[in-house]
Symmetry: C2
Subunit: 324 residues, 2 copies
């Protein structure tokens, strides 16, 4: 068993990049990561379990991509520059037909972000993927959840809800034609973490979070940690191109509470509105103004005319579950 | 589900220690770890799966201890000072009767080493524990596997084989009386990572590895990475107090190839022999001289008279499997 799983780990064993971030990579008791002088190391860890975070039999190439994407998205939401990651992998068997495309999907995304695999562990067990990722951020410039201030604009990157729409299609909750489902599924399976946007927003945005569980639920984390409230125009939320063709109630629900989008929700001073738009344009990512941070606690949802909506964020909890 | 598992993660949510190593702990997209100027960050990740690395129904307090101990042992083998760790946990259910003692065992060991829990993830799934640990080590002082040199002494800390003896008892491979089994089991369930020893050996030892799979197999990693060989006096290997009472063949087998000891195997220049002994005495840990690094590849086993033993390290592979 040992030798079989040693072989697997060698599958992922690439030498540290010359002049890269690792002084020592896979193959010793620890990896050794360099930190630029004065920088903080941003660290996030996510565990993905088959049958809960992804379907049994999921395409291993997409799974390799998504496993790293959700962690890169955490770095993006912190304004951190990716440095490297560790991969701990439990597998029912050493199946190279699974490992080869998984590694391909993983490394393709990692290489695009200069994020090196520096260590990890492989073992036999129910399919479980645990990635811990490392990034660099200057002290005082991290985009923290507790930094929203009353009067801040609330912005959302890209578009929301298509990943949730794909899930509804897979679950036969909605009848989608095959082409629409395929288009929406790209958002579910191959999210693009907003790393460049997070870096561009350093020193500009106040608070940030990545939207993994749904906009309303994730914004609520900012509100709670910052001890503020918010008013959000539900009709301003940027619906994905597939979701935009659905009826208004579904559009509102999925944009508010659909999970798995991996967009950024940020707050920034109203005085920096033009700067936020310029930063977004610079990295080629749409940013939409969707609301305002208030001193008064709670999340107030309004329509495009400013009329209060009876919808409460809490009522969306059952949509906010990760696909499982 | 979300709220249930949010509650679990709050179980582990302790505020960052004042003047500790984390500028930001659990509760944001990332933790923020401080690195002292000029230091490298040593990083190791281990995944423990129920039924493979520990028995179903294992005492959660001991499991909390051991999950962190194996990672601290990796830092020890690098000569790194523990800073913090992340915990990713998949659990079949949110069972506080399991969580409370698990957290107790985990934090008791963490606190003794000043190692803070700075982030992580909890999810429903087959019981799986993934810890990624961070330590600090000055450039050029890490105890690497590739640093052994011909003529080096080979040393082993503490004693070997009692953890393997306990496993044999549990498996009914050997008849041990209850008191002996209980004494040996402490070594299996509650290993003490040699963190202080690893730090004391900085700048003194050449190569180091922690003995998790068995002495011969782990020394082989040093030999391979350093492109050297070794001669080891099997009878010099320090047997644990329970193992020492077993017949010679078993004593030799388990000392050579028993897993789960979490002692350190190091190499150091012969000229520094007194310094190694002084460093070991300073931290209150026995160190035993067991062999010599040779220029010629391969592991040569001899008895206390220097006579070659027919035993080959490879023949111990079936003992080298982790308990599963």
């Amino acid at each position: 068993m040992l030798s079989e799983f040693s072989l697997i780990s060698r599958y992922f064993d690439r030498p540290p990049r010359a002049n890269g971030n690792a002084e020592l990579g896979i193959g010793d008791d620890c990896a050794l990561l360099r930190t630029a002088p004065g920088m903080l190391t941003a660290i996030s860890s996510d565990m993905l379990v088959e049958g809960r975070h992804f379907f049994a039999g999921a395409d291993p190439r997409l799974l390799g991509h998504k496993s790293l994407a959700v962690n890169l998205s955490d770095l993006a939401a912190m304004g951190a520059q990716p440095l490297g990651f560790t991969l701990a992998l439990a597998l029912p068997a050493a199946d190279e037909a699974w490992l080869a495309p998984f590694a391909d999907g993983l490394f393709a995304l990692a290489d695009r972000h200069g994020c090196e695999l520096i260590g990890g562990d492989t073992t036999r067990g129910p399919l479980t993927i645990c990635i811990t990722i490392f990034g660099a951020v200057p002290p005082g410039q991290a985009l923290r959840r507790d930094a929203a201030r009353p009067g801040d604009d609330i912005w959302v990157s890209g578009s929301l809800g298509d990943a949730r729409l794909a899930l509804a299609g897979y679950r036969n909750e909605l009848a989608l034609d095959a082409a629409d489902l395929a288009a929406a599924a790209v958002r579910m399976h191959a999210p693009e973490p907003r790393v460049a946007l997070g870096l561009a927003l350093r020193g500009l945005a106040h608070a940030a979070i990545d939207i993994s569980d749904g906009f309303a639920g994730d914004l609520a984390h900012i509100l709670e940690r910052s001890a503020v409230g918010a008013t959000v125009d539900v009709d301003a939320l940027p619906a994905g191109s597939m979701l935009a063709r659905q009826p208004q109630p579904l559009r509102r629900q999925y944009a508010l509470a659909g999970g798995d989008d991996y967009e950024l929700c940020i707050t920034a001073p109203r005085s920096r509105r033009a700067d936020v738009q310029a930063a977004a344009a610079h990295v080629g990512c749409a940013m939409t103004l969707v609301g305002t941070i208030d001193a008064s606690p709670g999340l107030r949802l309004v329509d495009h005319l400013g009329a209060p909506l009876a919808l409460q964020a809490a009522s969306f909890d059952h949509f906010a579950m990760p696909p499982s």
